[in-house]
Subunit: 604 residues, 2 copies
């Protein structure tokens, strides 16, 4: 940290940041800049009506223009933007590299530097660079001529991706070649607006990747090379446009998520000096047989990224703040997820192009707890990114209740999400038992959960009669969003311990009373677990306490529930106080009589 | 919710909100407005260099001025601000009521309405209003003349507070009368810039309140009377200026916090029609003997409030967003706390007036995880509110590690906070035992916590030999920030159950092995708890599992820890796999030999 502190501005006067591009990414930077004592201006072809311009206004308090109107390739306009700025950065990589180089030659601080933009703008050059540094990539090849297309198809097989080296985004500039007949090739090139004679440095080929999930990782890198990754996310695309982002990446084991984060950091670091600010790193997960997952780099964007919007509401430092911190030489901010789960849904212009139709999801989100609306102020066109909605929750399962509501309004069915992304409707506590004969006992736990308003599910899972179900149930419980498992079993009671062996969740064991040994067999089978696999055991037949223990466990992250538990305890005290009061008042003889009468009337 | 939806703007076009005052509160509204599709303009005496003006710029994309320069009492300027606005609101209550009334007469939508501002501006009128609606207040009296001061002193006792009815803030306009000699009265009046003949409607008297804590509650009220409260906070003042806010209110039981929230909502509702937007409600807690706490209303501000800044980073909807939602007739947002604990520290201009000195805390906060900086862009003066820092954490105890660092840089010692606010350095897990002879067993739990990096404390608490300590320890554990208690005991093992009876936290019991009954006595004493008071019991002598259970419990709100637990389980599997591999390779005869050799070498 001490080396970072030396990076702090020695004067506390406001820093001025010039940003190339004033779209939604620039707008969201502008909304975080003021509280960091940063003043922003923008270069944008739309002028002051661009999304960022709507926020910062046309002129500042000194009458100086905050928006330079001009093309992102216009060198004079770039120079105008840079005037008086401590640093020039960008919200889009499709900018004039020559203009940036000229700024740098004049001593302007450009972050990320023109060298980085140059590498990233040309996706083939990008791949060559990452390949040199040992970053795992899908197979790819240069396409200087028609022959090279045939060579690539032979080498990588069909289908083959043909991709534009420059200027591609949101799926544009990509096409799929399914056969290598001259007609198919001509058609594929025509898709990209090209003819055979345009080949040279326009296209490259990529082998078809049979990925089972797309993961994106946001990485921030400081001017002195410190790198931090945000958690790996699942990115869901429809029609090649990012629609939904889920965090942490769904149904991806922790070690693979960390592998993704490490590869993303390694890739950004491989870019070297001048790789400053946020980088959006897109990855493919490819299954290589059971329990072996390959991570391949798809591509890198040198700026805040659609897959990082969730950081605004789910992390202490958003990607926009961290981009500003990094390019200004301030210390990097915390990249940890502060919630159990988060999601982002893009609001796209409705197919009709109607703005009222488009705003339906936004309006509904206003009434959904923990949903946050981010509107970009852009004119409405079908399929255009108009805004996004972030959601947070304590767990994936709780998140998906709001998620499915928002998705519906965005014309997406929750059930249409890739299977790996769905958790299904899922409770916080699972109450399971070895046999239906345990239910009368276990119902006491269910009643406690009802009273405390904790969502639960009840199921029969027998260690001895349904061993496969036992395994599947235990292994999937955590990723389904369950937080605590209550398991009841009697006799040679193996259920709680076997479940505990196959889940990282706390498991509470309820020894069921048996007719032969009064439940002592159940108790000892449940409580005497070996080192390493704990079961929280309660008294014989006391499922009430199992329910209460589950609630106490959940309290840690739920202050409301803690309050309810305190109230419950206060009520127990009051009940005993009141009994004590009656006993004192009536004397023991009369009190005992009353008890006998009550017990009789119960028996009738 | 359906009634709220009808309040949504039927057209999705941008809403325009005019705000009277462009200080830091207006600035922070302006930073949230764009993502809600709201465009703001401000009236401020400073013009476009005011804090809000720095954010929104001097002119919008159409060249229209966003900042009207003028006094908040200037009726023409108010009318200028209102032009083209869907609603006019304010960030300060010291505005011209007549000007607002004239706007309303012209049909301008003013929220909160002039009637509300009029009631609140005059603190005596405010008290009369709340008194009429049965809101509990400290004793107060009108002071039309000198005689009334003597009457009030007789009635309420000394010391007596003399308070200005209008224009007071941050402790200005208040003075303390300690004796009723003519000299003392003259001096007190002079303190407020008054003479005896100024009495009439300038001052009122308030009885001295011996409060043990100051609590503030932010309340939002919609145009159709729906009211929601944010959680009760502890507000710490130094020199009558709000310095630190702690959430949830520290060491205030849940039922009293809810009482505060209910009184705050009742007070805002008592204001009636036109009471729209955020309201900051300040309360006193007064002890009335053991377990009986009175809540008295101090005062109400009709706007976002310093004690509500924490909502920016600890709630899904900040007070600024909820103010805008309310005054625009949009549905109210979620007011729940999303984290275990939060704090806000005001950054005041350093006594030297030096800006570098002032920014020390801000710069340091940049390197502290989960600390968020909010700078206001104001010129530096000693004691002026220049910005604030929000902090969040899973618990009070974790929060206070960063809090004490920030406080130090703000020239406040953590130990100088009122005792009720401090939690002390506190771990997440407490490992306690009845006797030192239990330590060799219990150390296994400690080792697990060490391995997982979970902060812990270890202590001896004997149910039978230190019953008072037992009670104190159990009752205070939750408010000290402890999340799980592991208790070991042997024989007639009462410690775990007694602790569980006096805390809402999960308690894990470790039955210590005994020489007489091999620990069966301990096991049954711990596990056979009555309904209502659960103890999570592990195997006899198996403190390792108690540690692991504590970690599993904490996982619910700590995804990182969950990852570590999965890794731990994977390592157990690998260890057995490797042993199994050796056994298969060597055969059982040779393997057994190896085991014997190893065991011998251990014995040597």
């Amino acid at each position: 940290m001490s080396s970072l502190s030396s990076n702090l501005p020695t004067s506390p006067s406001t820093l001025r940041v010039g940003c190339v591009g004033g779209g939604q990414l620039g707008r969201m930077m502008a909304l975080e800049a003021p509280r960091l004592n940063i003043d922003m201006r923008f270069l944008d072809a739309e002028g002051s009506s661009c999304p960022a311009g709507q926020v910062v206004g046309a002129t500042d308090r000194n009458g100086v223009e905050r928006i330079v109107k001009g093309a992102l390739y216009d060198e004079d306009k770039l120079a105008e933007l840079a005037e008086g700025c401590n640093v020039v950065t960008m919200e889009i990589e499709h900018v004039g590299v020559q203009g940036l180089e000229k700024l740098e030659a004049k001593g302007v601080n450009v972050q990320p530097s023109s060298r980085i933009i140059k590498i990233i703008q040309d996706k083939f050059v990008q791949k060559e660079h990452f390949s040199k540094y040992g970053i795992p990539l899908p197979p790819y090849a240069d396409l200087p001529n028609l022959e090279a297309i045939h060579d690539a198809a032979l080498q990588f097989g069909l289908p083959l991706m043909l991709k534009s080296r420059k200027g591609a985004y949101d799926g544009r500039g990509n096409t799929v070649l399914r056969e290598t007949t001259p007609e198919a090739i001509t058609t594929a090139l025509a898709d990209l607006g090209l003819k055979a004679e345009d080949l040279g440095d326009t296209l490259y080929a990529e082998g078809w990747v049979r990925f089972y999930s797309e993961v994106a990782v946001m990485v921030v890198r400081s001017t002195n090379g410190e790198t931090r990754a945000y958690p790996a996310t699942t990115a869901v695309q429809t029609d090649s446009i990012c629609r939904v982002v889920l965090v942490p990446a769904r149904n991806v084991p922790a070690n693979i998520r960390h592998k993704c984060e490490n590869i993303a950091m390694k890739a950004v670091n491989a870019l070297g000096d001048g790789a400053t600010g946020m980088f959006g790193v897109e990855l493919f997960l490819v299954e290589n047989g059971v329990d072996d997952i390959d991570v391949l780099l798809n591509e890198v964007a040198p700026r805040p990224h659609n897959t990082g919007h969730y950081t605004q509401d789910a992390c202490a430092t958003s990607q926009f703040e961290n981009h500003l911190r990094a390019v200004c030489g301030l210390p990097l901010g915390d990249t940890n997820l502060l919630v159990g789960a988060a999601a982002m849904v893009n609001v796209l212009g409705a197919p009709s192009g109607d703005i009222n139709e488009t705003m339906k999801g936004v309006n509904a989100a206003m009434s959904i707890p923990r949903a946050v609306v981010h509107w970009y102020g852009k004119g409405c066109r079908p399929g255009r990114k108009m805004g996004h909605i972030n959601m947070t929750a304590d767990s994936h399962a709780e998140l998906d209740t709001s998620l499915s509501r928002i998705l519906e309004l965005e014309r997406i069915s929750y059930d249409d999400l890739p299977a790996i992304c769905r958790v299904g409707k899922c409770p916080l506590v699972a109450v399971i038992m070895g046999s239906q004969s345990d239910l009368p006992t276990m119902q006491d736990a269910v009643n406690v959960l009802k009273d405390f308003g904790v969502p639960y599910e009840v199921d029969i899972v027998s260690a001895h009669r349904t061993p496969e179900k036992l395994m599947l149930y235990s292994r999937s419980a955590a990723s389904r969003g369950i937080q605590v498992i209550i398991a009841g079993a009697g006799g040679a009671a193996h259920l709680p311990g076997m479940v505990a062996a196959m889940t990282p969740l706390p498991v509470i064991g309820v020894p069921i009373k048996t007719s032969t040994l009064n439940g002592q067999d159940s108790l000892l089978s449940i409580v005497q677990m070996p080192r390493g696999v704990p079961v929280a055991t309660v008294a014989i037949g006391n499922a009430t306490n199992a329910g209460l223990l589950a609630v106490r466990s959940l309290c840690a992250s739920r202050p409301d529930l803690r309050d309810k538990m305190e109230e419950y305890q206060l009520n127990m005290k009051k009940a005993v106080d009141s009994t004590s009061h009656s006993l004192l008042e009536q004397g023991s003889d009369k009190f005992l009589e009353g008890m006998a009468t009550k017990s009789k009337s119960v028996n009738i």
